[in-house]
Structures are given as structure tokens and as C-alpha cells.
Symmetry: C2
Subunit: 166 residues, 2 copies
């Protein structure tokens, strides 16, 4: 028979938790009051679905993000991608190398700076990115199912207020 846990503050050992029972309930009231707790759970939930649905494309969230930045900004440099996506330069090297080896991304000499190289999508990269975008849009619909269009806009607006700071 399942038994509810003792509320916080009850004498230790008076009403201990019941292990083993699949329906044993553990309270997380204080955590539930924290915005960070919900933001993290929402983020992990969305990332989990993203990983599943993007697996056929061989794209992790960071790969898709990098492709998206290159697609929108042909000739962008590694350094600019790092700034835009908050990726440290050493960690971007392997990401770009992988995309380059898959012939999705082209490296061209930068016209103004011999140290840098301009990144571009190959034709195959453009096709893959286009298809991945379609799935990303489906994912968006899935993540925000149960939310009206107005609620989706509200949610993004409020999230931006949380993390955007001067």
C-alpha cells in the first residue's frame, strides 16, 4: 500500500518514505516555485525531442545552430559564430571540421583577412539545412502544442526578458 511521504518538518523517521512502490510520492514544492527549475526542464524536454527527430540528419542542436548561422550569414567566420552562439573557439573547431568533412560546409579564403576563412553552405548543406528546418518547425509545433499562438508569443517574450540583460 502506497503511503505519502512525511511533510517537511515532521519528526525524522516518524513517517519515512516508502521505497519500491512505483507510486510513492516525493514532494518537490520549493523547486516547483523556481523559474530556473521549470526553464531547465522545458529546455531538456525540447532538446530531447530535437535529438530524436534530428538524428536522421546527423545533427545535434549545436550543429543545426551552426548551419543556421552560416545559412543566414554566408561568409561568416568561426569567431563570429562563437560570439553569436556562445561557443568557445576550441569547441567550435571540431563542429566545423565535422560539417566540412561531411561536405555540408565550405571554407573559402576571407577576402579581407588572411587569418580568417569565410564559411558557406554547399549545395548539399543547403538541402540538408532546408529539410532540417522543416523538421525544426514541426518540432516547434510539437513543443508548443496545447499553447495558442498568442501564448507561444507570450512565452518567448517572457523568456527573453529573463535572459536578456543590458
Amino acid at each position: 500500500m502506497p503511503r505519502r511521504l512525511a511533510p517537511a518538518g515532521s519528526p525524522d523517521g516518524a513517517t519515512p518514505a516508502t521505497p519500491g512502490a512505483a507510486d510513492a510520492t516525493v514532494t518537490t514544492d520549493f523547486l516547483q516555485s523556481l523559474l530556473g527549475y521549470h526553464a531547465r526542464r522545458a529546455s531538456l524536454s525540447i532538446v530531447g525531442v530535437f535529438l530524436d527527430r534530428m538524428a536522421p540528419f546527423g545533427l545535434r542542436p549545436v550543429d543545426f545552430s551552426v548551419l543556421s548561422v552560416i545559412a543566414e550569414n554566408p561568409g561568416v567566420t568561426s569567431r563570429q559564430i562563437c560570439s553569436a552562439l556562445d561557443i568557445l573557439p576550441p569547441n567550435l573547431v571540431g563542429i566545423i571540421r565535422s560539417l566540412h568533412e561531411r561536405q555540408l560546409v565550405l571554407r573559402k579564403p576571407h577576402p579581407d583577412d588572411g587569418r580568417a576563412q569565410g564559411l558557406h553552405l554547399s549545395a548539399a548543406g543547403q538541402r540538408l539545412y532546408r529539410d532540417a528546418c522543416a523538421v525544426a518547425t514541426q518540432l516547434e509545433d510539437h513543443a508548443s502544442r496545447g499553447l495558442t499562438a498568442a501564448q507561444q508569443r507570450t512565452l518567448i517574450t517572457l523568456l527573453r526578458k529573463v535572459y536578456e540583460r543590458a
Copy 2:
């Protein structure tokens, strides 16, 4: 002189990105349309502030979460904490061991199950958790500054709708 990046779809190399300039702008329009992008950024932002402010207590988010579950559920088992917080049992071992070595958490024999042990906060653990809770509440105010009380409730409600599924 700063120059804006070429819009997506412009001929490759026609208007390349300008590296080096601190104000070179890279567009991330599609990513900006994705809920997961904003949820992740909000989560990372809040976690970052949490790490800074909880450092004096020697508590990472996961440590605070575990303390919170034990505080609210005296006698809870490791397995129950794993279920409540989505932590894998092998990864919880070190967390509990650390809290136990710091004498913040007590392990007591479980009254009903010889395999399990009931976890409790020590007096020192209760004091530390109480102080950490106060800081967590300040953090919450900081994270949701610029949001009205109604907006805070709305944000949490909408986030729950995103990740709570049957």
C-alpha cells in the same frame, strides 16, 4: 567601419562577414523563432547566476535540489530522489557521498527495507538549506525582475505546459 552581413540567399562572397569588428552583426533569425532556443538561453542564464550566488554554500544546482527533496521528505531514499529529479542512480552516489562527508546529510537504516537507507538533513544541513533557500528566493526575484507577479505565474504555467506530458 562596421558592415552588416549579407542576408541569407545573397551570392556567396558578395558581402562577406567582417571579422574582428566588435560590432559586426550576425543574424540568428530562425533560431530566434524557436522556443527551445529561448528556453535553453533562459535556463543557462539562471543557472549561471545560481552558480555564482550559491558558490559560498558550496552547492551546485543539483546539490541544492537534492537537499531540498531531503528537507521536504525526511527518510527519502536515493532511488526516490533519482525518480523525482531525473538523476541516474550511479550519478547520485557521489552527490550523496559528498553531502554526507560534509555532514549535511545523515543516512539512517530504513525501517522497512534493509537494502535502502533513509536520508535526513543534519542540524547543520537544515541551517545550510535554510540559508540557501533564502538566496534561492533572492535569485528568483533577480531572474524575474522586469516581470510582474502575474507574468511570473504565466511564465511558469506556460513552461509546464511545454514539458508536462501524459
